[in-house]
């Protein structure tokens, strides 16, 4: 007789129900149903979605990365300043962004492995450092995003908005990586228990470093999208992104303790957040009440989805 289960598994699918309900409710608003508006919502959410997908790797691995917001800001500023609106500079700017994102992630990963301090504190520190670097570089908006980047963020391909397509491709890639590759399994294993994963022969340090690199690269791509949308290198552009990303990841059913979660849930949660903003604006709800409502929606969604267990990081 097989050794039977001890408890029913909690459903992690709550976010899809919440999203479906929100979509249905939003469908009652005439302006909402316009295709243009839907494309808007998807486009507006693209940068956050990319960052949140990256953060999903980090959180699944039982870590957290607060530095991505400021890293995004730095990349927005540098890309716009270097490119200065010239499409010819597109390639170098792209290389710079990805290189910087990966590099910064690698440094965070290295520090994480060497110093063994809680990643929340570590990345709180690197966030502060990055912020200092951004503002040392410039304290006001600089440069211009090349048209190609603007197209990436805001343009259309065969009538479809490009940024959401990009998100779709990246999310699909991330999903396959997490569920179908050895690396993805190792990420979940390390998140499930670092010591145990090590005992299974996994190079936990390498896995940890890699997820930080992924997170850094996602900040780079997110930064490109933000740069494209804003058109200029605005130094505060990334502020707060890290928290939004974390909220989306956890609302999407990924446990802060690591080991459990999905990219699809994250994307659904990002859409829910974007939808909320859009609908509240369309409904002309006063911004103060909007804030209250958004808070309540986050509370409601986490209560429905409950990827928790009374622990801070659970």
């Amino acid at each position: 007789m097989p050794v039977v289960s001890r408890s029913m598994r909690l459903t992690d699918r709550g976010i899809y129900w919440v999203l479906a309900a929100a979509l249905a409710a939003a469908g009652l608003i005439p302006e909402f149903r316009s295709l243009g508006n839907l494309a808007n919502v998807a486009t507006q959410s693209a940068a956050l979605a990319v960052l949140a997908v990256g953060q999903t790797f980090v959180i699944l691995c039982g870590l957290i990365d607060l530095s991505v917001g400021q890293l995004t800001g730095l990349i927005v500023v540098l890309v716009c300043d270097v490119a200065a609106g010239r499409d010819a500079m597109m390639a170098p700017a792209l290389l710079l962004a990805i290189g910087l994102g990966a590099g910064s992630g690698a440094v965070t990963g290295l520090l994480n492995n060497r110093l063994r301090i809680h990643p929340l504190i570590l990345t709180f520190g690197t966030m502060s450092v990055l912020q200092g670097i951004v503002f040392t570089y410039t304290d006001r908006s600089v440069g211009r995003a090349p048209a190609a980047i603007a197209w990436l963020a805001d343009g259309r391909l065969l009538g479809l908005p490009v940024a959401p397509l990009l998100v779709l491709v990246l999310a699909a890639g991330a999903h396959v990586t997490l569920t179908r590759t050895r690396f993805g399994m190792h990420v979940r294993a390390v998140g499930g228990g670092r010591d145990n994963a090590r005992r299974a022969g996994i190079d936990t340090d390498r896995v940890a470093a890699t997820v930080f690199v992924i997170s850094g690269v996602s900040a780079a791509i997110g930064g490109l999208l933000v740069a494209g949308r804003l058109g200029v290198g605005y130094p505060h552009a990334g502020a707060g992104f890290e928290l939004d990303a974390i909220v989306a990841v956890v609302l999407g059913g990924t446990s802060l303790a690591g080991g459990r979660g999905s990219v699809a849930g994250t994307v659904a949660a990002v859409l829910l957040l974007g939808l909320t903003n859009n609908v509240l604006n369309l409904l002309q709800i006063s911004s103060f009440i909007q804030m209250l409502v958004k808070g309540l929606i986050v509370i409601g969604a986490i209560l429905v989805n409950q990827p928790g267990g009374r622990r801070a990081f659970a």
């Binding site: 001890r6 590759t181 399994m185 294993a189 499930g192 090590r198 022969g201 459990r260």
Partner: protein, 490 residues
Amino acid sequence: MAFLEIRGLSKTFPGVTALDGVDLSAEAGEVHALVGANGAGKSTLMLALAGVLSPTAGEIRLAGVPVAFGTPRAAIEAGVSIVYQETSAISEMTVAENIFLGREPTTRMGLVDRRRLYEETRRLLDRHRLPLDPAAQVGQLTVAGQQLVEIARALSIAARVLILDEPTAVLSLAEQRNLFDIIAGLKGPRLLILYVSHRLEEIFAIADRITVLRDGRKVTTVATADLRQADLVRLMVGHEVRERIPLPAPAAAPPLLEARLNGSPPRLEVRSGEILGFAGLVGAGRSRLGRSLAGLDPIDLRIDGRPVRLRSPADGLAHGIVYLTEDRKREGLFDNLSVLVNATAAALPSLSRFGVVRLAAERRAGAAILGRLRLVARSLAAPVRELSGGNQQKVILGRALLCRPRILVCDEPTRGVDVGAKDEIYDLLLELVRQGVAIVLISSELKEVLALSHRVLVMRDGAAVREFTAGEASEHDVLQAAMGPLPGAA
């Protein structure tokens, strides 16, 4: 030179010398047992061999080649596999994912080949007759199930050295026998099996040679054939096991605790001064019953003849029902807290006044009970996670005893405990019984259940199937009742 040569191996932790210049040699083809009291250093030695801990000094040679496994990965690659004393599987992943973690089969495209992963797991489990579902989440398995995952994982690594650190501590008889069959089948000229256990019968049944450790040093290595059990005990704990005084008869009073059961007998009754033993296979539902007696699951319950409803273990405690869990790691230990705090955790109401803990009284009470249990620890303030497995068990047993139970439900109370301490625990249980405590004893060590219980209740598939009284039960009868009518032969 022997296949495995360990020379002068030492390991110190802050404040503790766990291993002190241990020499050991073992040959391929043998089952080499490692015995010693709790805290003797057996697990530490095995962890060093498996690359989990780096030794402070000394040398390990495998087939003549010096090895220094900095990481478990290096050990695995060298063909050393281990079943850890504490389960090390990842709860969030499935059985199959855990077994092949780090060695997942891949398709030509580099993706994990899930079909092969599950097929190979299926085959492995079938080959060794391990009752596991490859797709089950490990977090939902019982302790025994998790232990089987560990074993399957170790077996899946084509090993030169297979280390088993108390693999049977949480297994019930059928699984234990199965494991011995597996070990017998694996035994071959190229494989060394290192076996750690406190169950001496097992050791005498399967080991070719025995190494005894005491206080971090090697005492001796002897061939099993040259040794009697009593000698081994003396080598391990320094004195012989005492003869046990026979069970006192329970008071002829009405039952202290009654509960409704599925099956027959339809009711469970324990009197003051009585030990009711539970036998059954893994997953028979003994633990579940024990948990409901403690207030973790709803059940029809009478105490002193009055019906009560327990909503939580706190309710249970209020009625004098104390539960000793089998799952030490998940719901027994406060890992990072001190030994003392662990021991007194459930007795705080009696150790405090106006919500303030009387620290001196707490310390006295804790020291007294842990002293009786012969705890080995650096200090009462040391975090409990630093203790050896058996000593951790003593701490949670001490916690239960400090609550002054009227009804004690103990689930595998001697899990991982050395013979000396086991004896001490038996004496303690008997003393409690003499003081009028009613005890429900759940144990997978059939000998233990039979020796200690006034009556033995056998469970199968979640239901009670039979009750034996002390004299009438034989090991054979109990086992047969537990396994049920077998198709074909017995």
